[in-house]
Symmetry: C3
Subunit: 336 residues, 3 copies
């Protein structure tokens, strides 16, 4: 497309001379004269002078002599749209592939695609335009909304519910049994897990993540929440809206997490806690008590983020501190 | 069922007037007059007065005016049985689904169910009543006991053995190659992994967990042990009986873990260690030496649990301690 | 085979009398008179006297009265070869199994095996002798080299590339979308992920591991690198050659890791970092800044390995240090 046309589609303002045709989006270091590129991170500002790109998607007011800019209120979002426009091919659709196994009682909306080897159980409903990829398995009574993508190898167990525009990356497991066992004299007895997993609209879940079904009530993931790879959410966990759970986070049973939180990689949260709205937790932290709205935390067990930063700064000095302390104690003793 | 009938089935004593019919098990806050509920955690005692439940499964001696109780020696176990009786539908059985691929040499017991897309390899044996769900894969020479459930997406590699009543949640991997590579001048050379994974009776394994086959001898999981999601057990690991491994635990090669242990979430254990019986390890701990029977540990690297609790309490005070120490040192210097 | 013949195949020197036939490789404690065994770890030296093995693969110069040795420059590598010769059965080959779904445009090399339920997408190419196991899924435009093994349940998404002799253990996910979302007023907007994953020759990847596709450019894994189970590599990560990533490691987006590194279990590395060549990182460490070539690190956040060792040694003494410090402060105050 012409640059001017792309700028209009993105809702931005083209600054600079000429209106070449562009074909791709590329990183600022390697973009060529028929590519557009993107600049938001100040670390990359020096490339503004040397980039070969046809134009740079960036914030209003940023200029560079002889370079074209497209000024935008949210350049990162616009970058995503530009990739969508220039580079994303529509996914292949199969209708119902002859090697899929679809129960006679399942209800498929318009334009649904079911890949080879996929298994669609009894009474499953799938909304319009949704794609179920090869070898994905939806157990009986699962409900999938409109415009969803369920990738290969995903398993959604009985009765679980996905909203609209939900994306499940490959090998995700939704609705496995929660980890509930009663100690008894003859060993642990399984507590049947009869709740479901209910996932709201616009949720995306990364490869290999597992979300367990509730024991009695449902495990719930709120609208717009994004979950990275290999995350573990236990039975009855409640996650709010627009919350980010980064890779390898683990959340134990019945804990609730609010809206707009950012939980960084490999964090662990114990069970039966209440994490407020807008909470931020640093990578690898361990959370063992409730966290109020808008707070930031770090460490295992976690303390307020600034306290943690200061304390880890002292940690490598412990051996020196111990020597100094021993010296002082010795002198005190000598003095009697 | 009538409440009196349910109390009898659970081996409990019904206390209070009337004998209504009950249909469901529900949480104490939301249970209605045709639901039973359950109380063991003292945190929920205040709900005893307000619950609408037809009856409360609880410990002997607990009462509340005008409320019915079922007194039981182990209310949590009874809760599980009540859910089983009232709420669990028997799983759907397929016989051998026409879209399954079962090798001609496989031997299937009575009432076995093989779902669509499942692959049963050569010389596989499967005991009576076991269920292999859609798209699960059993490689050649696998042996599955009676009354097992192997969920969708599970892979069990060649020669591995599951006892009776074993449950594998979706996307579990049993018997992947152990991580064995010999450094050489041309890079790492793979050491073939020819041991198996042998899983005893009554073991349950959570979604996405991976248990590697032994290098020469077998990786072994003892009777009644319960393993949560996304756990990693490396080659030659030996886990005892009735041990609990919580989510995202990692155990390196050739380590043995005793009976009746509780290893909390995200714990890491290095290779070639001996962890005794009845050991408890706090979440996110890192274990790098043998642990004797009956001990409790915390931290990374782990120290005795009480030592850890006390030390992490001091950790946020490190910056203050450093300032105090610097002040004392300055004064000492001033004194000469 | 005869011992002398085996020694010749392994490039070693047989020391001791007799030349029995051997059938198996077994651990030194349990090997019998028709087994060979292996000794490299000094911890097992005491078994040299008591082993029943027909011969011990070991370093030149190691002897034990009345025992046969095979002296080798690299006994661990030779052990692997011996297991290969004596104990590894060639994998079963299917040609293209009738229950596989292979797109008409896919190109399969000589002697390729495609298991039942596997899905091979459009324009996929697979090199000679490669094995695609049951229910694995290769999306459109995937390229697989020669002599690869792709185990059951693996998913490789569109356009990703595997070199020669690559092994993917069960339930690995290659090419899931990277975790890229632009915050906007209506919530997070997905940034389409249009890069690929490119995996060089001789790479092995453990069960359940997930490697995300690049956002614009490719995620890359270098020649000979070995990755354990349940590892997470985010979009645009670059891993060098002959590097070891142990189980449950997580690496955030755009970080590069050099050649010949060893990253131990459960390590987390934040995004946009440069980890040099030959870097070693202790288990459970957290890395938040660049690491120069040849350095060793430990802790979260990580510090130089020796500093970390010394500091964690002081950690359990913190409560005592605090008491001592308080006492000194009190005395100072008393003195005025």
């Amino acid at each position: 497309v012409r640059l001017s046309e792309l700028a209009a589609k993105l809702g931005g303002r083209l600054v600079g001379e000429g209106d070449p045709e562009v074909f791709r989006v590329a990183p600022i270091e390697s973009a060529g004269p028929s590519d557009i590129t993107f600049l938001a991170n100040p670390k990359y500002f020096p490339f503004l002078e040397t980039t070969q790109a046809a134009a740079v998607l960036t914030m209003e007011g940023i200029e560079s002599p002889g370079k074209r800019m497209i000024w935008l209120p949210n350049p990162y979002e616009a970058f995503g749209k530009a990739v969508e426009i220039l580079m994303v091919k529509p996914p292949r659709r199969f209708g119902t592939h002859p090697h899929a196994t679809v129960d006679a009682t399942a209800q498929l909306g318009e334009n649904v695609s079911i890949g080879p080897g996929a298994r669609i159980g009894a009474r499953v409903t799938i909304g319009a335009n949704s794609i179920i990829e090869a070898n994905a398995v939806l157990y009986d009574d699962v409900s999938v909304g409109r415009d969803c993508i369920v990738h290969a190898g995903v398993v959604v167990r009985e009765g679980c519910i996905l909203g609209n525009r939900v994306v499940l990356q490959p090998n995700v497991t939704i609705g496995g049994d929660g980890f509930g066992f009663a100690p008894s004299e003859e060993g642990y007895k399984k507590i049947p897990q009869v709740g479901r997993v209910v996932i709201a609209d616009d949720v995306e879940i990364g490869s290999g993540t597992t979300i367990d079904r509730g024991a009695l009530e449902d495990t719930r993931i709120g609208k717009g929440t994004k979950i990275d790879n290999l995350v573990m959410l236990a039975h009855n966990v409640q996650v709010g809206e627009n919350t980010i759970l980064v890779s390898q986070v683990g959340v134990a049973g019945s804990t609730s997490i609010g809206n707009g939180c950012v939980i960084a990689g490999q964090v662990g949260i114990v069970g039966h806690l209440k994490i407020g709205n807008g909470v931020k937790i640093a990578a690898q932290s361990g959370i063992s008590h409730d966290l109020p709205d808008g707070t930031e935390w770090g460490g295992s067990p976690a303390v307020p983020y600034r306290t943690w930063l200061r304390s880890v700064g002292v940690f490598p000095k412990l051996p020196e501190m111990r020597r100094q302390l021993a010296k002082l104690l010795k002198r005190e003793e000598a003095k009697g």
